[in-house]
């Protein structure tokens, strides 16, 4: 165990509900550097509950960086200062004694705040519903390796599929654009033979849904890639652009 407790002062966004006006509340805590960031928040909540006060609402589930549920903007950076980890994998040892820590929810028009640090990310589900599927023939279970796929392509598809849909890309983007998320989902299917039947239609409907939900447009600052806990590459956005342009220009649909 590494050393003694550190004292941090936290400014945390508190907001009672979607329609109410929120503000920052200040909390101070002495915490072990071995505690995770979410454990630190749990401690604060225990303390608040013991005083009969309303605990801070924040989301988490697996707490091992694979579910994409947690997500806080810590000192202006989604998932905090350490690259390629989710908020739950961040530890207090990354902060110095006396450091001020600002904790905010993901901010985007398409991610309305539900309460405190919890935002509604169901927009991502809506995007997936418009194209995040493939056609499969009914009948017997197909043989696992019936369709040959090169290792390179399989790896690229797997890299894209590593997206946990946490929304940090939207939170990091100065335009609150969801292009990294959507492009990862488009790519994971577009790269593989199984994804070909709906390839054109998929990219068009997913992009249309993304635009309809009020996410911004990409201006290639690549902040999304820098903040993504899974290191999803912006080359996926290029692939989506390519597919979308091709689908729009070459499809027979004139509507």
């Amino acid at each position: 165990m590494s050393g003694k407790n550190i004292n941090v002062s936290l400014k945390i966004w508190r907001q009672d509900g979607p329609k109410t006006v929120g503000s920052f509340a200040e909390y101070k805590i002495s915490i072990s550097p071995d505690a995770s960031f979410l454990e630190m928040l749990d401690e604060i909540n225990n303390d608040l509950e013991s005083k009969n006060q309303i605990p801070i609402a924040f989301e988490s589930d697996c707490r091992e960086g694979i579910c994409g549920t947690c997500g806080l903007v810590i000192n202006g950076q989604p998932h905090g200062p350490i690259p390629k980890i989710a908020t739950c994998q961040l530890h207090m040892r990354n902060f110095k004694d006396g450091d001020p820590i600002w904790i905010e929810p993901f901010r985007a028009k398409a991610f309305p705040i539900i309460k405190d640090l919890v935002v509604d990310r169901s927009g991502f589900d809506e995007i997936l519903q418009t194209g995040g599927y493939i056609s499969i023939n009914t009948g017997g279970v197909p043989d696992a390796n019936a369709i040959p796929i090169s290792k390179d392509i399989a790896s690229l598809a797997m890299d894209a599929a590593a997206c946990i849909g946490c929304g940090a890309c939207v939170a990091a983007c100065k335009n609150a654009s969801a292009m990294l998320f959507v492009s990862a989902k488009v790519s994971q299917y577009a790269l593989l033979p199984q994804g070909q039947p709906e390839r054109s239609q998929r990219v068009q409907s997913m992009v249309a849904k993304m635009d309809e939900l009020g996410f911004g447009s990409c201006t290639n600052t690549y902040a999304c890639e820098a903040e993504c806990p899974k290191g999803i590459s912006v080359t996926n956005i290029a692939r989506m652009n390519r597919d979308y342009i091709k689908a729009s220009v070459t499809s027979n649909s004139v509507e």
Binding site: G216, S217, A238, N241, I245, V254, E255
Partner: protein, 223 residues
């Protein structure tokens, strides 16, 4: 043509048209720069270059109209994207961490673009209008070089010119590689090369354009 409307107004369509117009303007700048650099050849060479352009006036006019259209689409889409993108995040962060995840010139395309637009208006007023109204305002017959030289003797005018060119360099540095990303042309082998070429091109364009007012202000003007 409703499919075209949908395409043009989609987030990717807007980017694409920013890219197409942007790369066209980058190509135009190259020709503009080559003509401008003939100023270093002295009055005779530059005046001949301008006179040659005068002799193909109808063609120049057509190119000017096309250029104006390209500029308008670039500016219109740029403003539209800026407004829409602001609306996508109605409540700002209290702590802005963007310096930790992106470059300043990639985040300030709207700002650098706006100042370049102001520069463009002043630039057209000074040079384009004067060159096109010989005898009406100021310029004597075929004394283009002398007009340019005297204009750049104004330190404020030249100072703003140089400032705008530095911003143009930053704007191009992001714009150049951005075009390839938007078109979907990324590749492990070629993208790093494109990025380097973009940066070298931007620095070259900025320095080459800025060298003209500096030359007239300090070297010619100092004589």
């Amino acid at each position: 043509m409703s499919w075209f409307n949908t395409f043009f107004n989609s987030s990717i369509g807007k980017k694409l048209f920013m890219g197409i117009t942007g790369i066209s303007l980058i190509l135009f700048l190259k020709f503009h720069l080559i003509n401008n650099l003939s100023l270093f050849g002295g009055p005779e060479i530059f005046n001949t270059v301008v006179k040659n352009l005068e002799s193909i006036k109808p063609l120049v006019r057509v190119i000017e109209v096309v250029l104006a259209l390209i500029f308008l689409i670039h500016i219109f889409n740029g403003i539209r994207l800026w407004i829409e993108n602001k609306k996508a995040r109605p409540v700002k962060y209290a702590v802005n961490g963007s310096s930790k995840n992106s470059t300043i010139y990639s985040r300030t395309m709207a700002q650098t673009g706006s100042i370049i637009f102001i520069f463009l208006v002043i630039h057209l007023r000074t040079f384009w209008m004067s060159f096109n109204s010989i005898g009406v305002v100021g310029i004597e017959e075929h004394k283009y070089y002398e007009f340019v030289a005297s204009t750049f003797l104004d330190p404020i005018y030249s100072g703003f010119y140089v400032f705008a060119m530095i911003l143009l360099g930053l704007h191009l540095n992001h714009g150049f590689q951005s075009v390839f990303q938007t078109f979907g042309w990324t590749h492990k082998k070629y993208t790093p090369i494109i990025n380097v070429i973009g940066t070298i091109y931007s620095i070259f364009v900025a320095i080459a354009f800025a060298s003209i007012p500096i030359y007239f202000l300090f070297i010619q003007g100092g004589k």
